[in-house]
Symmetry: C2
Subunit: 464 residues, 2 copies
């Protein structure tokens, strides 16, 4: 445990943000010590900046005094990105940076503060007939600032892309306190370096984002879902990439493997096909029923060409919800297989999905763990969950982590990535050298140093 | 004029790339002294690297000896990005880096070398039923490496976005010779900083791109165009943003103002409406005729709600080509208004288009120049052309440049950008302080220095 901040620093920080916006008591330190990992690190203080100028002044002060600053939205990350692993202050943005500043219906653009919750924003734009596609599983509580910092994905990425595809501009504060704008409210803008591009997915290590300009699209008027049942996981994975390669662009193309299906069925008795090797749950959208029918017919044909033994279209809202129930409840249901879940979000080019799942099956046998898998196969993003029944047994837990490392190696060998959407943070930092050469890691360090020469912003993350 | 390179350096470079791939004779220096601006700067030598290792060795050598290196594709840029304004060697990539390495139909991805010509690549992927949307006007000769370095746009950006939306990964060589990969063949990838993101649009100032991985999509089976005639430019500009805001997503939404229409008509006598304030030429696409009909009906309705006095749909290929003839020939036709064309590609949020065109009309009167405008209104990108009748008159030319500076100021005031697709290079470098604060310019310099501490890569560009 790291000692509290010197009282002189606390005084100085209170002078910047006001008495009521800076705390170093135990209650606040505990309240901001967690995220969605099971790791816990207490900050030395919690600071709530009221506006961009406060952010600038706090950073300037901390930069001068070499105090670590950890920007934080909802603290819902899966990789420890918002955890003060090396002490320092948490810069908590949910209190004052939670406003939707503008929904510009003339240009299909919105400006928001980083503490706005994703789903709240989606709801507000949908009221106006507009649509913000990125839908991370955490959408009910994660913030748009966190989404940008981790470049969050979601189910709709197969058709609509991920957070970075919607960020048009950012305002941000550099570690030295400089306030910058990056990007424009224009689709085309090629003046100057793409600073917004490098801030996206930088996990709060380069700058504190204070405002986000997002692209919106018109909300599709209609959507419809369908489920394909496959005898084997291999059939399902072949169906995924062959369907997507044929040019159909479903909104989502999600899968559950047999273990995931059985887990949901055991907990909720929904009549799922527990003898199936895998199911694919997919959705199409558009403005005309003819378009939906056409896409669904194509999906059915492609699925059946690739071993689909049952194809079921949702006929109404209830059936629609039933189809998605299994997918939405997979993550919590698979806990039947072990107390501790080592979950990763590796991603491979879609055509490598069949090989990936074969390797995972092999590793499951070799390391003697159940590894239920589900996720966003439409974009090659597979949530792999190594279930450790007795995590209190150090040998067993170590074996679990060894298995995870093998899974990372397989992903990289298949031209994939360590993380499709969760980021690196602390949790995956040790594995960065699996994916990046020394030259590449060095370039990351050079960039980090250029933005943050005193290493005050979220230090120790991303393996840097 | 800068002296030739020391013969010791020429010898050393020849030792790296071979005798036949390094020249400092006058013929080669003249052959590589130009681009699509009228500026001319001779390089001190021209070097043709045969492969990525050559690029690495050349950069390592030049970095050690502080010799400037200017990467070059086709030299078709509009802003001097490939011109050796401060001497140094041109690293010419068109000779050996012109191969399409892979068209991965399973994953809808291609890998290319930077010297591949855009249109050649489009043709090759279209043969396979695939589609690469970015279509800069230079597509017949500009290279994909140049397109990435300038983040090229084009007519189809309104629906399909620009080059950066298709770059999945890059290989590149840093000024110190380090070879790096950035990005993956996966839609989702959030491991490490987004290096590919910052290299796009960096105009060859940060690294030499040696390989590009591009996203492809399925080629839409059908397309159809239409033209709307408007009595006033203001009606047309209002129609653009209101149509786009209504959620219709035409592939393109191009405009010609009255001066541009008249210029094309004077040169080609195509029966264009020379009394119109502006015309909008638009195209929709899709896989079903019903979808096209629906979109065209919506376009017609929205146009007519906003003052469209004539709406004409193309009924066949010939009519399709006739509609686009005016747009394609606008740039060359407007030269009837003046010997020298000061052309810029400012971009504003679409809803500011009416104001922008009003300002341009005012500046045209104030500075006494004809300023024909045309371009990509679907994304707010307007090609403004200040036509200078007697550029040999220094006063008149200076007045032309003063007018351009006013146009830039207007664009920035309307939340727009100096450049939608041409980049900054040399031509717009003096105007960077109009668009960026000292803090932002400083950040650009810090990033440049981090990648290139000896400032050898394309020095003096982008106002850095």
């Amino acid at each position: 445990m790291i000692a509290p901040l010197d009282s002189v620093h606390i005084r100085a920080l209170k002078n910047i943000v006001g008495e009521e916006n800076c705390y170093d008591d135990t209650a606040h330190r505990i309240a901001y010590c967690y995220d969605a990992t099971r790791e816990r690190y207490e900050p030395q203080a919690v600071v709530y900046p009221r506006d961009e100028r406060d952010v600038s002044e706090v950073l300037k002060y901390c930069n001068t005094h070499k105090i670590a600053v950890i920007p934080r939205g909802a603290g819902s990350g899966f990789t420890g990105g918002a955890l003060p692993a090396n002490g320092g202050i948490v810069l908590a943005l949910e209190k004052y940076f939670n406003q939707i500043l503008e929904i510009d219906e003339k240009n299909l653009i919105a400006r928001v503060q980083p503490g706005v919750v994703n789903k709240h924003f989606q709801n507000e734009v949908e009221k106006r007939g507009l649509f913000y596609p990125p839908d991370p599983a955490s959408q009910e509580y994660s913030t748009l600032g966190g989404n940008v910092s981790e470049n969050a994905g979601g189910m709709r990425a197969a058709k609509y892309g991920i957070t970075k595809d919607y960020v048009m501009a950012l305002r941000a504060v550099l570690p030295n306190g400089d306030i910058i704008k990056a990007g424009k409210k224009t689709i085309k803008d090629v003046a100057g370096y793409n600073i917004a591009g490098i801030l996206i997915a930088s996990e709060g290590t380069l700058a504190v984002i204070t405002e986000i300009t997002l692209k919106l699209i018109a909300k599709p008027k209609l959507r419809q879902s369908a489920m394909g049942v496959f005898a084997t996981i291999n059939d399902a994975m072949n169906a995924v990439y062959k369907t997507m390669a044929s040019g159909i662009t479903p909104v989502a193309m999600e899968f559950l493997d047999n273990l995931s299906i059985c887990a949901v069925e055991e907990r909720f008795s929904k009549g799922l096909p527990t003898n199936a090797g895998a199911i694919l749950i997919t959705q199409v959208d558009g403005d005309m029923q003819e378009v939906l029918d056409y896409q669904l017919a194509q999906l059915e044909q492609k699925f059946k060409e690739n071993g689909c033994i049952d194809f079921k279209k949702a006929k109404n809202t209830q059936e629609e919800e039933d189809l998605w129930f299994a997918r939405r409840n997979a993550s919590q249901s698979i806990t039947i297989y072990g107390k501790k879940k080592l979950n990763e979000d590796i991603t491979v080019p879609r055509s490598r999905l069949p090989e990936l799942l074969e390797h995972i099956n092999r590793l499951s046998q070799q390391y003697d763990f159940k590894i239920p898998c589900f996720g966003h196969t439409g974009d090659g993003n597979v949530h792999t969950n190594v279930m450790v029944p007795n995590p209190d047994d150090p040998e067993e837990l170590a074996r679990g982590y060894a298995c995870i490392e093998e899974i990372f190696k397989v992903a990289v060998d298949l031209e994939g990535t360590l993380s499709g959407e969760h980021g690196i943070g602390l949790a995956k930092a040790p594995f960065m050298p699996l994916a990046f050469s020394e030259e590449e890691m060095n370039l990351f360090r050079v960039i980090k140093h250029a933005f943050d020469p005193n290493n005050i912003l979220n230090p120790g993350k991303m393996g840097l």
